[in-house]
């Protein structure tokens, strides 16, 4: 594969989901994690990229502190403490036992071994608390709280080292590779086996890295872990507060957004894992999953039981793949109507990695009202498509988005708008289509789709957007992805084994200046 000139390392905040998953893994499930960290922020389309840019706010730090104590209290309750405390204290204050605890638990919490100074710094706090409060385990709560509040826990610290083997100039250390793999594939902290592999030095060798990647991929945890990637890629957090005007859309409910996300995630799991197949099927599959709410929205038979059931849309249905899901159709629309622009923009950016400039300031953007001459949205947006200052971008978006006019602002199927039969034909970069199903086929075969998926996964894995020095390597990754039938697992294996994932630069290096 081509050489890579990597980006210098950056700290990454744990996302809210990673924080919760990590607490579960450190202490066992059932711990109540109160409150929230700061909200995750989206940059360049991904929360994973926002995590590499943002700091914790004072309010976030306050929430972390109170959460840390509530978590610590539960973790050291008599029925749980044996899982994490490796020794029985000889008295209220037992410095050896507290230091042992900090050494062993700290390695899991910080995803690396602690230095002696660090162990002392934290176990001293625990000993002093134990003395003040008169209880050894009450003291340890303060050690846990300190470990959870440290930046070494709250941020992913992956700073790299000079590569002693000379394969890369600078590479991520074995411990850092453990975190990188685990957060990418399982969306959580490394398990003990992965940390042990890091300690043995396995993760800086090709074979050792591959063995662990395959182990993680073979686990059912990779399904949920990589669904987090899918969720981020599809911008599903936007559905957290989906709002549709109930007078216009009686199918709107507080739970619709969550149902819509689950439908799409189930399809992803089916395509990417159960079928192990071609990710492009996400766009064209007639197979999907609905609960009663979605069944009513889509006008298909409802499942017999509560929850989701598999179903298949008929061959003549325009509802195909993700682009027929409410997760796409309803979130890329307005509270009372559709939006060809929002839908088209989503397709361009998310599936084709197109860069669309923002709208200019100081222009009149109003869409003309419904008149006798122009009743459908297609007729009304003509101005965007003919005025040269609008058309250069809007043609790219609107002509794609209009393909979905058969689905209203909440994703219900319709054949007319204002009494006029909807025309959903169009063309995608030279390929003509008749309707949404035709667009799905055209998008599936688009030459930018595969490279875009590979590039998005690399961005997600690295927490940064590629620069010029990586385009060649990313191009290679996209080709490998195509050669292997657009399946997720080989893409993950190629990416993680490559310098795109393993190499870095010293901090503050500008990669464009080291050629």
């Amino acid at each position: 594969m081509p050489a890579v000139n990597p980006e210098a390392p950056t700290l990454r905040r744990l996302t809210n989901e990673q924080f919760r998953n990590t607490v579960d893994d450190l202490f066992g499930t059932g711990i109540v994690v109160p409150g929230e960290l700061d909200p995750d922020e989206r940059f360049d389309g991904l929360l994973a990229l926002g995590a590499a840019r943002t700091a914790y706010s004072p309010r976030g730090i306050e929430n972390i502190e109170s959460s840390a104590y509530l978590i610590a209290e539960q973790a050291l309750a008599p029925d749980r403490r044996d899982a994490i405390v490796p020794c029985t204290p000889t008295g209220t204050v037992d410095s050896d036992c507290s230091a042992r605890f900090v050494t062993e638990f700290g390695r899991r919490a910080w995803r690396r071994p602690l230095t002696n100074d660090e162990v002392t710094r934290i176990s001293t706090v625990a000993d002093s608390a134990a003395g003040t409060l008169g209880d050894f385990h009450d003291g340890l709560e303060f050690a846990v709280a300190a470990l959870l509040q440290a930046p070494d826990f709250l941020f992913r610290v992956e700073l790299g080292e000079v590569d002693p083997d000379g394969t890369f100039g600078h590479r991520y250390t074995g411990w850092e590779m453990a975190s990188r793999l685990s957060f990418l594939l399982w969306n959580t902290t490394p398990d003990d086996e992965l940390l042990d592999a890091a300690e043995r030095g396995d993760l800086t060798t090709e074979d050792g890295l591959l063995a662990q990647t395959e182990r993680l991929m073979a686990s059912p945890r990779a399904t949920d872990g990589l669904t987090a990637f899918f969720n981020d890629w599809m911008r599903f957090s936007e559905l957290d507060d989906l709002y549709k005007e109930p007078l216009v859309f009686p199918h709107m409910s507080d739970t619709l957004g969550a149902s819509a996300v689950e439908e799409s995630e189930r399809l992803f799991k089916l395509v990417a894992f159960d079928a192990g197949g071609d990710l492009r099927d996400l766009l064209t599959s007639r197979q999907t999953f609905v609960d009663r709410e979605l069944a009513a929205l889509y006008d298909v038979p409802a499942p017999v039981r509560d929850g989701f059931a598999a179903m298949q849309h008929p061959e003549d249905s325009l509802r195909r793949g993700l682009l027929g899901h409410a997760s796409f159709l309803a979130s890329n629309a307005h509270p009372v109507s559709t939006s060809a622009t929002l839908r088209g923009k989503f397709i361009r950016e998310v599936f084709l990695c197109a860069e669309l400039p923002g709208p200019p300031s100081g222009v009149d953007t109003s869409i003309p009202p419904v008149t006798e001459q122009a009743r459908t949205l297609r007729e009304r947006v003509q101005q965007h498509l003919t005025d040269p200052s609008c058309a250069s971008c809007h043609r790219n978006m609107d002509l794609v988005g209009l393909a979905f006019e058969n689905f209203d602002g909440i994703a219900r199927y319709r054949t007319t708008e204002e009494g006029v039969t909807i025309d959903s034909s169009g063309e995608l970069d030279g390929v003509a289509f008749d309707d949404a199903a035709g667009l799905a086929d055209a998008l599936r075969e688009h030459e930018d789709l595969g490279p875009c998926i590979a590039m998005t996964l690399a961005r997600y894995a690295n927490g940064y957007r590629e620069h010029l020095g990586q385009l060649e390597a990313l191009g290679w990754l996209g080709e490998e992805f195509a050669l292997q039938g657009y399946a997720l697992e080989p893409l993950v294996l190629e990416l993680t084994a490559s310098p795109l994932f393993r190499a870095t630069n010293p901090v503050d290096t500008d990669p464009l200046e080291v050629e």
């Binding site: 700091a55 706010s57 004072p58 309010r59 502190e65 706090v125 509040q149 930046p151 957290d240 200019p360």
Partner: protein, 439 residues
Amino acid sequence: MARSLDRRTVLKGLLGGAAISIGLPPLEAMLDASGTAYADGGALPRRFVTFFWGNGMIPERWTPSAFGAGDEWELSEQLLPLASIKHRIAVITGTEVRVPNRIPHFSGMGGLLCGLDPIGEEGNWTVAGPTIDQILAQEIGGETRFRSLEVGSRPGDGVSFNGPNSRNPFEASPRAFFNRIFGEGFTAPGEEPILDPKIGLRRSVLDAVMEQTAQLESRVGTADQQRLDQHLSGIRDLELRLQRMEDDPPNLASCERPDEPPTDDTWGNNIIERGRVMHDLVAMALACDQTRVLTYAHTMPVDNYVYPGIPDGHHRLTHDEPEPQEGVHGVTLQIMEEFAHFVQALDAIPEGDGTMLDNLVVLGTSEVSEARTHSLEEIPIVLAGSACGFLKQDIHYRSSTRENASKVMLSLMRAMGTNPAAFGEGDAMSTDSLGDIEA
């Protein structure tokens, strides 16, 4: 409300307050006869409050036709909901935000509140420096339990920034806000301070975390150093807050622990009702001197809430509704009603000779004027309150020369007792305040 003088109060009174200034909170029992100041001559707290709403207004229907003071001017069509508070407000029209208008909605927010052109690239814009509330928080926020507070009426990300990529997310849940301010760690007037050995231990944990953070900071890149600096400053604020739990509680006359508000599902999607509960909580948080810098976001830039009786989401309407945009106008009226309610909640708190509104200023503003074109001319600014007599009330100031909106920001900085040489940088910089609105 029975209240006794505790040991420290007596001590402070005996010594006239001069010799032992140990940072005790103000005590209502020590106010002078008129109640305007403490026995030792200290002033009541002065606060800076922002009331932000998204998507601007319609300049032709917003701007009052006459300018001047008192009877010389009348409210415009869009400002009519402010009738009950006309005598407490200053309407400033005709100013402009002088940053390049490159990024719809964002340029205006950063340009107005920071006086700086946003930085970044397509899709990743951020502010180039702190917003005015955080500049002030560094100056006047150090004496209260919270350096600043950020609140809103519906979930969103916030308009208060510590600097680039460092936003202060706001609290949109009344219950969560109540718990944060009036839950653990709050002591009402007359109550004993919280003495708990765990507080000292928590502080020693924070010390250890700060050492750990400093150690990490020495190994990371420049951008990460700034992020960790931010982290450290948050930890220091928290440590100070823990330390203050052991102090006497704030003791302003009108401070009392409010009732716990209902859970969020009570209001569903109704941000009007939820917001009004928040207004009252905000008023009490200020009355109890929990902070002196508070940012309230009624809505965020680009907000698309569907207001009662309005046919579509707010942002959508600003762009797609044909002239004369009756829907947008209807939304603006509703927002002004909420602004009036917010100001009235602050005005309902007796303080000194008058009300809390005498001792603060509310900056009511938005990130654009006419959202349809994202215009930064005629940026809407309504001030409420006099900030201890520093600012005029019941005036409409109309700039006939398109003055820099940063002049207003500089007036506000000065109204808060700070005296910076300038607000903003580049074209947005102003070294002059707007003398016409200053008393």
